[in-house]
Amino acid sequence: MADTAQPKPMDAHVSATRRDFLQIAATAVTGIGAAIAAWPLIDSMNAARDTLAAGAPLDVDLSHLQPGQQIIVLWRSKPIFVVNRTAPDLKTLQEPTVLDRLRDPDSTVLQQPAYAQNWHRSIKPEYLVLVGICTHLGCIPEFTPQPGGTLGPDWPGGYFCPCHGSRYDLSGRVFQGVPAPYNLPVPPYNFISNTVIRIGENPAGSTFDLNEIEQL
């Protein structure tokens, strides 16, 4: 400390603790201020009000959806598959030979609301609603409902993801031996009439948020 001027003699012990307290207080209050100042900047990166408002529920009219046909709509910027499954499709979903090849045939992992935790993973068996994002690395799986074909003679019909070869059945349940770990998620949805579903809204008495699932 050769550069400092001569300090006046003082009671070293008392002033040392008082000086420490003030300096600690000064440092602490400045640090708190800096942390408080950082929060608005970080929070500004969270979804803005208009972004959240745009995530409002979406109504889909099913009256023109033919049996065996799939449409894709966007809800919260995610592709949503809506399928009108035929009777043969629904029979295949319950066959033991298919169920044996699935990783999670009973949908025990939380990838769907309680009202879709069944073999058809939906409210009404004919209509399937899925989030069309492969649980492996996020590609959109292709709708391949026809059995057999290029996917092999024991392909029962379902989804095939072109990126890394993951396969799902016509309820979105993932097969064993493929890269994807989980069944395709089911979003919250509700029949507001016999032919119109509202994606993003639960039936009365249920609560389910897509953020609750294991993994998108």
Binding site: A5, P7, Q23, T30, G33, D50, A53, A54, A56
Partner: protein, 262 residues
């Protein structure tokens, strides 16, 4: 006065005195009283809702408010359900549908306020070439009568303007399709007098005199110009208190550390 204070006063003069002198014959804008004035001001929600009613029933026939969405109305005290109901009364253009056509559907909270005209040219065609300005920021854009360009300056202007329609004085030459207003710069405004009192029947039963309507719509428009004003002032109080405490502690620490030098 000490030198540093003189210094800072000079700089303040330079900064704040920069308001340009406008050459205008318009009368000076009288000051009115507003619930949102001052550092502790808040929006009178009842007045803002009445003002919204005036906007809806009168002003919205010519003036758009493109920056507002129906969902924002919760900010003046409407519930989510009331907001959904208000939005649902509007017809909003959406589309294209699967046939490739645009169609009308009932509004949702996420929709922007429906504009009276689809574009500028349509507005001018319908209104003798005049373009009614969008009202989303009108209060901030007209705030010059306040020395700090605060919201009350703009509200004073709108409040005065709406009550400023008079007969032109003898000898004053009016241009075609213009109206005389004592507060508008140049005294000639394309907008005909929009309010005369009793133009709406207030849902809460308040008597709809002209000053009442003008005051309420100015309150609504002020909220629309800056919906975050209350958050701003409230956060400001917390920040200033913290800064005062922090600066006090730092000052004490400074004196302590410098004691052996002085």
């Amino acid at each position: 006065m000490s030198k540093p204070v003189l210094w800072l006063a000079c700089l303040a003069l330079l900064a704040l005195g920069a308001a340009p002198v406008r050459a205008q014959e318009a009368a000076p804008i009288p000051k009115a009283s507003w619930s949102f004035s001052g550092p502790f001001g808040t929006f009178d929600r009842a007045a803002a809702q009445r003002g919204f009613q005036v906007y809806e029933e009168v002003c919205s026939h010519c003036h758009s408010m493109n920056l507002l969405h129906y969902g924002d109305l919760v900010g003046i005290g409407y519930t989510e359900d009331e907001v959904k109901a208000i939005a649902a009364t509007k017809q909003v253009t959406d589309g294209p549908n699967d046939q490739g056509e645009m169609y009308q559907r009932p509004g949702r909270p996420s929709d922007a306020f429906v504009a009276p005209f689809p574009n500028e040219k349509a507005a001018r065609a319908a209104l003798n070439g005049a373009l009614p300005p969008d009202l989303s920021l009108i209060i901030k854009a007209r705030a010059d009568s306040s020395p700090i360009k605060g919201l009350s300056g703009g509200a004073d202007y709108v409040y005065a303007l709406l009550q400023g329609f008079k007969e032109p004085p003898a000898g004053f030459k009016m241009s075609a399709n213009m109206n005389y207003n004592i507060y508008f710069p140049g005294n000639q405004i394309a907008m005909p007098q929009p309010l005369a009192g009793e133009d709406v029947k207030y849902a809460d039963g308040t008597k709809a005199t002209l000053p009442q309507e003008a005051h309420d719509v100015a309150t609504f428009l002020t909220w629309a110009s800056e919906p975050t004003m209350e958050e701003r002032k409230f956060t400001g109080a917390k920040v200033l208190i913290f800064l005062l405490v922090m600066t006090g502690i730092l000052y004490a620490a400074k004196r302590q550390i410098w004691a052996d030098v002085h």
